[in-house]
């Protein structure tokens, strides 16, 4: 595994389905280390040993010595020598089939993400194995396409990024920084592609800032794969995005806004630290890395929004609006 892969915690599973799957799992892998099996099932080694002890007590009616599930341990590895008739795992449930089939179809639709024919073949095999449980996964459709992908070249960019990740090469980016409203040039060492919350991001070590950065694909104006290899420093850790791509951070400025009916969408669109109903309006607290960005947001929302805090922001917005209006009175 590459050093940049995030550590993932598997969701906990129920014990009974695990016990039923464990017997054929072990039978397919004679002499597997107990620790490896525990890893595959997402449980601790101690838990897996308890499972094995329990299975040892189970077997065919009669429950004589020849009827019980038989396991042999050798050092830290285990082998099933009698399975008491649990030769195969249980069929997929309709939820299990749906979760895989919809996800596979989703991946197939993203250019450059996975080989289309590989995904199609895998889908056909899962469908066949799921049998009638695979019926009508049509009720759930997921599109991973970037919501900012109006750029005609964003698919090409994605393909270049994928190739650079595969070949572990550095990239040159022309990147628009919305917070400062400027276009920048930089060399980055790619770590992973993140497709989340309707956006695509490149996570990379940025040599310019000397830190891990997320680059939104729809803000990449140009990308070029360099001949030099990517050098991701050991201290570069992928961001934990399990609670959302952007988390409010106390080091960012807090901005308190009151949203009228026409601006309520802001609370859906941006991660808010707090959202409260205030009469017919909505009061939100946003954490922003750059006040210039929020000034543009507030200006664009016009009289649908009131700035409660910081007070200087409200004054800045009013002055900027006056300056803009003056442009029309004297201008063309």
């Amino acid at each position: 595994m590459s050093p940049t892969s995030p550590t993932r915690t598997l969701p906990p599973t129920e014990r009974l389905p695990r016990l039923l799957a464990l017997v054929p799992y072990l039978q397919a892998r004679p002499g597997i280390p107990v620790a490896d099996a525990a890893g595959d099932f997402g449980v601790t080694e101690a838990q897996l040993r308890q499972d094995l002890e329990l299975l040892w007590m189970c077997g065919l009616p009669g429950h004589g010595p020849g009827d019980l599930i038989d396991l042999s341990f050798e050092g830290d590895s285990v082998t099933v020598t009698f399975d008491a008739g649990i030769h195969r795992p249980l069929r997929l449930t309709s939820d299990e089939a749906l979760s895989l089939l919809v996800a596979l179809r989703t991946l197939a639709d993203v250019p450059g993400l996975a080989e289309r024919d590989v995904v199609d073949r895998a889908t056909a095999k899962i469908e066949a194995a799921a049998g009638t449980q695979a019926k009508a996964p049509t009720g759930l459709t997921v599109n991973l396409q970037d919501r900012g992908a109006q750029r005609p070249d964003s698919d090409e960019h994605l393909v270049v990024l994928r190739r650079a990740l595969d070949q572990q090469r550095a990239l040159h980016l022309t990147y628009y920084v919305a917070g400062r409203d400027e276009t920048t040039e930089r060399v980055v060492d790619p770590m992973r592609l993140l497709l989340a919350e309707g956006r695509s991001y490149l996570e990379a070590w940025c040599r310019r800032s000397g830190d891990v950065r997320l680059f939104r694909l729809d803000r990449i104006d140009a990308v070029q794969m360099l001949t030099e290899p990517a050098r991701v420093p050991a201290e570069a850790h992928p961001r934990d995005v399990s609670t959302g791509v952007f988390r409010p951070s106390a080091e960012h400025d807090a901005v308190t806004l009151r949203l009228g009916a026409g601006a309520r969408w802001v609370a859906d669109y941006y991660p808010c630290e707090r959202v409260t109903e205030a009469g017919s309006e909505l009061e939100i607290v946003l954490r922003v890395a750059d006040l210039r960005w929020v000034r543009r947001l507030v200006l664009g929302l016009g009289t649908e929004v009131t700035v409660l805090d910081p007070p200087a922001l409200a004054e800045e917005v009013r002055q900027e609006a006056a300056a803009a209006l003056a442009g029309y009175q004297e201008g063309p």
Binding site: A21, V23, G59, T93, D95, E320, A323, Y328
Partner: protein
Amino acid sequence: MSARRAERLVNLVICLLSTRQFLTAERIRSAVPGYGPGDGSAPGEEAFKRMFERDKTELRDLGVPLETGRNGWADTEDGYRIARRDYELPDIDLTADEAAAVGLAARLWQSAGLSQAAHGALQKLRAAGIDVDSQAAPGIEPRVEASDPAFQPCLDAVRAARPIRFDYRRPGAHDTEARQVEPWGVVSWRGRWYLVGHDRVRRATRCFRLSRILGDVAPAGRPDTVTIPDGIDLTAIVSDSVPPTSRTAVVLIRPGRAQGLRRTATSTGAGTAEGDEFEVSYGDPEALADRLVGFGSAVLALRPPEVRDAVMDRLRRLVAR
């Protein structure tokens, strides 16, 4: 689940898989350890019945195909068995790259319900001898959140083909309205979840943002009473509900400013010391005006009047308050 109950259930599955005959509850009781011996007392019989009922429910919830039937005319009560062909996952053989694609797919879901289902599916595929590495495909991390409370009830209703009712807050509105919908599908588009279906009150096809469904999603009819029209494209219905961008406005951008607008606009080549002219495509003039006003004095809307007037109107109201 207690270890004793888990052990009893594993034994029950082994027992019912090993028989071709239907086994009555009483025979199961003597063949499977853990139910306790029958002493013939009424409370003892009652306790066993309840225990056995709960165990059957547990197995059916897991998807174990529990068959009920009688072996012949002489049987006086139903018995149980598990048909091996219905229980077992059929043979499946994935190549290494197919298994990697499945592993990547299983990581997609971040919501509790679907990620657990995907994890359960991987567990079964591994038990079938396939090496699915859920950490494989380094470098890509596709994630889909489905944390809206309405997600699971809406998906359940789609799969049960059952009409539903809920309170909905339209964009821009403060009050909610009661809706009744025949659900056709749940769609994630551009990072947002939508329910698509037939709105019984409006008598038309409608999309509903799941995050705007407030409170409970309740049944409004019987299961299997929703008919999905042939050949519908759920994603197209959602994307069509967003206005297309087909009109063009001309703006003047002050020298060196509003980079964010420049990079999505097309230069007309015209320009003075005052600034450079750009063309911007748009669908809704009001939405474009919101965006242009955001750039303040860096941008001047030149034409058409519907955009220029909308921008000036917003600025006047901002200055006046």
